[in-house]
């Protein structure tokens, strides 16, 4: 029983790490091998808390349905792609940094995918902390949510009243990503070397 609780606790920790975009390879492995029903239940629970707190909010996790299926599909897709796409070896010509030591076939895509949900996760995280005191009737779930993340002293808990601002911030992070993509592609397109990348300096940054 204790082992079961420990497994559940580890799964929640990994889930939390994933929502924060900080999942390690161990976290990912743990989630992949976790009980699908239990994982789905936790995700539904998060979503329920969100809906309870923000019936009219447009903030959504977008993860409540078949996360594991999507994860596995993504992994399968990556594997297929790796098999299909020729790898251009530059090792003889370039610096060691260019060939990251840690890069394994699936890991980089995973990190990007997980960091991508971090934007939504930062919003959901606020909801979880804020909702902790409101759902006292469901003690089991409340405890489970509390285990997702233990607030640290330097953690900023955004008041629920400012949730809309958080949404805007999430929009800004997305826009920053697009602006950088645009600058990089413009640099490859207009024949002025890297100079168009100079614009990135004046773009807004995440504070």
């Amino acid at each position: 029983m204790a082992a079961l609780n420990e497994n559940a606790s580890e799964m929640l920790t990994s889930l939390s790490a994933m929502f924060d975009g900080e999942a390690s390879e161990l976290d990912i492995e743990r989630l992949l091998h976790a009980d699908s029903a239990e994982l789905s239940r936790q995700l539904e629970h998060f979503h329920l808390i969100q809906q309870t707190l923000h019936k009219d909010s447009t903030v959504t996790l977008g993860l409540e349905d078949s996360l594991l299926l999507r994860v596995r599909a993504e992994l399968d897709k990556d594997d297929e792609l790796q098999a299909e796409e020729p790898v251009i070896s530059l090792e003889k010509n370039v610096l060691p940094f260019v060939s990251p030591k840690k890069a394994s076939p699936s890991r980089p895509n995973w990190r990007v995918m997980l960091s991508g949900v971090a934007v939504a996760a930062s919003v959901s995280f606020v909801i979880i902390l804020g909702g902790n005191g409101l759902l006292t009737s469901d003690t089991v779930h409340t405890n489970a949510v509390a285990e997702v993340r233990t607030p640290t002293s330097n953690m900023i808990v955004t008041p629920l009243a400012e949730l809309d601002k958080e949404v805007l911030q999430a929009d800004n992070i997305r826009l920053q990503h697009y602006l950088r993509q645009h600058a990089e592609q413009a640099a490859m397109t207009v024949g002025q070397g890297m100079i168009p990348m100079a614009r990135v300096v004046s773009y807004p940054v995440k504070e």
């Binding site: 447009t58 959504t60 977008g62 990556d78 792609l81 796409e85 790898v87 251009i88 530059l90 010509n93 370039v94 610096l95 940094f97 260019v98 990251p100 840690k102 890069a103 980089p108 895509n109 990190r111 990007v112 995918m113 960091s115 991508g116 949900v117 929009d171 997305r174 826009l175 697009y178 602006l179 950088r180 993509q181 645009h182 990089e184 592609q185 413009a186 640099a187 490859m188 397109t189 207009v190 024949g191 002025q192 070397g193 890297m194 100079i195 990348m197 100079a198 614009r199 990135v200 300096v201 004046s202 773009y203 807004p204 940054v205 995440k206």
Partner: protein, 321 residues
Amino acid sequence: MRLFSLFHVFFTLVCLTISTVSLASSTTPDALHLLRSMTQSFSTLSYDGVFVHSEATNMNSMRVRHDLMGGVEYESLVDLDGDKIEVLRIDDKIISVYPNALVANTRAPLVPPFKRFKDVESERLIKGYDMIVGEHTSRIAGRNVVAVKLVPKDQYRYGHEFWLDKENHFLLKHDMMKTDGELLERIQFTSVNFAPDLKDKDFVPKEGSYAEPVVESQPRRVKNLWQFDWLPDGFSLVWPEARSLNHGTSMLLLSDGMATVSIFVEPTMKAKSMSIISMGATIAGERSIKVKDQLYLLTMVGEVPEPTIEKLMAVFMPRQE
């Protein structure tokens, strides 16, 4: 006396007409030749220079270096003022270090059609701009330069003026202007060395400037499901297919050979009315569009006037098969 005056006026008009015609017919090929040479100079020359990038009230100095070592191109761009960015390119692999993000993004080797253009899109440029080569030589960063001006033929793009090194056609100054001549953005070298002693260690990210390298997933080419009902003359898609980013976002790229507009489309659950954000010469627009029951968030970013982004967002639609 009156006859002489009439003859004088007629002769002057004929001369003016001839000179205008000859100017218009000879400047475009000359300008294209210079622009082509400028583009190639970025890949073939070795250089180490400092330039100032200014727009509105912002001014920033940056260092750019480029060399060919063992047949491989090395290039770096470093922010000298705000420490906000460091970009390295080795062959076709780009490493972008954004200190605020604490990561170094290493793009996987780029494969065609994402390789850098090493030529000018002359047909597109001719449709969008009148091109004039300046008659006078001036000096920038201690070097003689020749000016090439691109005057927009319509209100959907900005004007450009390039000052190129007279010897090797390297770009030493670039102004981007509104159609009324108001300066939007300027890039100007203050010093440049065309015989730098660069080593491979000059192309390593600054120690402590990032926490860990992150390799972004290989950009995948996917079928383009979108189209424009209208495009300004000279603009067309750079890639025949879309580029698939993470999280189901598709990216398209439009260009007229000088200006670029990036289009990002992703599924969303939130309706959003059109909003426009201006950042110097860069304009970003966002709105949601509904296709059947699915909402998509459309984002466009480009160095074009605001009405161009607005109009492009209004004519963006699913591709008709």
